[in-house]
Symmetry: C2
Subunit: 103 residues, 2 copies
């Protein structure tokens, strides 16, 4: 994962509301969590929530699947796992060098 992509994903994660949305989606068993459901869990307008979801979509962290009149969202576990791996590599790379000095 390139720095540019990684930065994009980090930026998507860099807002408390979006972290909340991810948590809300993670708690849904069936993946049938639509925009209205998410909105009801948050003190924000539907349009605002929709915008945040769009950011998460573009970062590849969630996926959309239409179900009748609803748009349902769920986490993209594959991408999140990849991100976890990328972070591990990133941080261990940093720490590997940095620990020589920080002591």
């Amino acid at each position: 994962m390139q720095d540019e992509d990684l930065a994009n994903v980090m930026r998507a994660l860099g807002h408390p509301v979006r972290l909340s949305i991810l948590r809300i989606l993670a708690e849904q068993r069936q993946g049938d969590c639509c925009c209205t459901d998410v909105t009801q869990c948050l003190p924000l307008a539907q349009s605002t929530v929709s915008q945040h979801i769009k950011v998460l979509l573009e970062a590849g962290l969630v996926q959309r699947h239409a179900r009748g009149t609803r748009n349902c969202y769920s986490l993209r576990a594959d991408r999140i796992e990849a991100l976890g791996a990328a972070c591990s590599g990133l941080f261990s790379g940093f720490v590997g060098q940095a620990s020589k000095e920080v002591a």
Copy 2:
């Protein structure tokens, strides 16, 4: 680490230049990397680099230690490790639930 803090750190990481700065600091052996050194590695003005470093400082990702007329910067390995752990927990939490549906 609370969502608010986590989001702050993510936001700090959510810019390619700041990721670059972290990489530059990680490559320094002695921790004697000053603002001018970092600036020479980047196509940006010194004031801009100083601003980015400030963001990283406030996120707790780097530390400053004066050395004569220079301000030297190094990574805070402890914080980065903590962040890595927080991310692991976050992602595994997400994936743990999400994987029930994504298959």
